[in-house]
């Protein structure tokens, strides 16, 4: 176990940023803390780094490889921290920025000048910025700055790498590139890494495991496939990807909402009562006729064919809009136009009743 967080709480005045959080991170793992703003993910990361101190209630513990670091200062914990807005030293060149962590070491553990320079140049090669060593941060693009920040953090050979929304300030194209670069780098270095993000796509794409956080607690921990396909709560279902939500009821293995009653083969419930029905847009099928299967009649309202699949919004009679993601071939086959009458059939639905998932 590389990092072990036990019973961590954090309050700012009367505001609870973290409530009794427990988390274990395996050695060499890339884990993503995912959640909306205010969910406590950044606070958790900063507490692991030592930039923030957890509430001193006598129960909180933070272990790095079995060693309790809860009372160590940030500098003693040997963590590489990367900030959203880079936090580079503006008055230092790129190479000086990278070498900073080695230069400030006490004399007895500080490498020689030539050794520091060799190492900084090696890192410069790693982040593919050879020849940029003498530039200043202001002369670099956002993506380049963040790579320098990463190299600076790696220079101190950290026990764990902590990234706080590292790509949050970059535009979409650069973010995509850096994301896959980070994943390749992680495969190469195998360094235990915690990444904070509010971008679910980023978390699902990069991380080995995803920690979904909401309102100061952890909702679910699992592989990207687990959290996406078997969400543990309504929040996780809602937060990861688009979803259609219907307020409805459950009656004898059938989900009922609005004027639609749909048999759900995989719904094994005999409980009746209020429930929220969640269906992802790509798990709905559109057809011109029902052919005997259950479906809801609706009218095509909007079509957005720009993308890898066609986004169609349909409106059932006296019901809220439903988003459907159609595979492109199917979209062309159906030859949909706005105003067409279609039938909507769920392929897979999830039902959450207020108490627990069914």
């Amino acid at each position: 176990m590389s990092i072990c967080v036990k019973n961590i709480s954090k309050t700012f005045g009367s505001y609870h940023a973290l409530k009794n959080v427990n988390l274990e991170v395996e050695d060499g793992e890339l884990i993503a803390l995912l959640g909306p703003s205010g969910s406590g993910k950044t606070t958790l990361l900063r507490i692991i780094a030592g930039l923030e101190i957890a509430d001193d209630d006598g129960r909180g513990e933070i272990h790095f490889r079995g060693q309790n670091v809860a009372h160590q200062r940030v500098g003693e914990r040997q963590v590489g921290f990367v900030f959203q807005h880079y936090a580079l030293f503006k008055h230092m060149s790129v190479i000086e920025n990278i070498a900073f962590g080695l230069r400030v070491r006490p004399q007895e553990t500080r490498p020689s000048k030539s050794e520091i320079l060799r190492k900084a140049n090696e890192l410069l090669r790693l982040i593919q910025l050879e020849g940029y060593g003498n530039r200043f941060p202001a002369q670099l693009s956002g993506g380049q700055r963040q790579r320098v920040a990463l190299a600076r953090a790696l220079a101190i050979e950290p026990r764990v790498l902590l990234l706080d929304e590292p790509f949050g300030a970059l535009d979409a194209k650069v973010r995509q590139g850096l994301r896959s670069w980070l994943r390749r780098l992680h495969n190469e270095l195998k360094m235990t890494t915690i990444l904070v993000t509010h971008d679910q796509e980023e978390a699902l794409e990069v991380a080995d495991r995803v920690v979904v956080m909401n309102q100061a607690t952890i909702e679910q921990v699992g592989t990207p496939a687990e959290v996406f396909h078997s969400p543990a709560s309504e929040f996780v279902m809602d937060f990861l990807g688009n979803v259609n939500v219907f307020r409805g009821r459950v009656e004898q293995g059938r989900a009922v909402w609005g004027n639609g009653t749909v048999d759900v083969p995989n719904l094994m419930s005999r409980i009746s009562g209020q429930a929220n029905v969640y269906i992802r847009p790509h798990e709905l099928k559109l057809s011109r006729s029902l052919n005997g299967s259950a479906g809801v009649a609706a009218r095509v309202n909007r079509i957005n064919p720009a993308g890898s699949y066609a986004k169609v919004v349909v409106t059932p009679k006296d019901g809220a809009d439903i988003q459907v993601d159609l595979p492109f071939e199917q979209f062309l086959e159906l030859n949909l136009q706005c105003g067409d009458e279609v039938y909507v059939t769920p392929q897979k639905i999830r039902v959450f009743s207020p108490e627990y998932e069914i």
């Binding site: 930039l51 900030f83 580079l88 400030v104």
Partner: protein, 279 residues
Amino acid sequence: MLMRIKQYSVLPGFGLTLGYTLTYLSLIVLLPLSALFIRCFSASPSELWQILTEPRVLASYRLTFGTSLLAATINLVFGFVVAWSLVRYRFPGRRLIDAMVDVPFALPTAVSGIALTALYSKNGWIGGLLEPIGIRVAFTPLGITLALTFIGLPFVVRTLQPALEDLDGETEEAAASLGATRWQTFWRVILPTVLPALLTGFALSFARALGEYGSVVFISGNMPMKTEIASLLIVTKLEQYDVTGASAIAVVMLLMSFLILFSINGLQWWVSRSQRKAG
């Protein structure tokens, strides 16, 4: 040439405003300065040399530049502390203290001079305590330095405050996470970042001290060779209708101040070159 400088803007008026600026600056700044130079060089070089190398004049230069430099240096250190605590910490009365920094700006200099003299003279509140342990403040260079420190403080604090507010806490956290001690963080990260502002504050405080008259004349005692500042000497010469002598001293003051401010500006440019190298 002018056409190339001219840039398109939604608000026209480049020619008009530039013309106005040049005329205005010539009338307000250049004209009096040239009058000073012309007046000064109405004397022959040997006469000038004689005026300027008079021991009393040399002593006044030494005193003026020495005390101004010392006062600006003191302000550099303590102004930094004041600005730092006003920017970094939230405490009751902070806004009041923040407003108090401006008092030396607002107070007529003669008032501050009288107030300081009253405090530090032999029978003043503080002077009365210092006198028995052998420290004399009023009517010594120490008193002059004190007055110059007083009037120069707001310049350092006010130029430094925005720079300190601009510092982002993350850079310091980054330094700490990389293992830097607090001292290293201050010395290697914070100080270099605010150095340009610090130098500007120092230059302003120094320039103000060089020209200060009102607050100093009361506390200095104006003893020739000992506590007579250059500004006072100029006034003395004028009172004796020695305009040439007065302008000669003034021109030297002017040139030396220019030289010093120029070098501080140069230093500042050199320090901030990396920050300004925006790509």
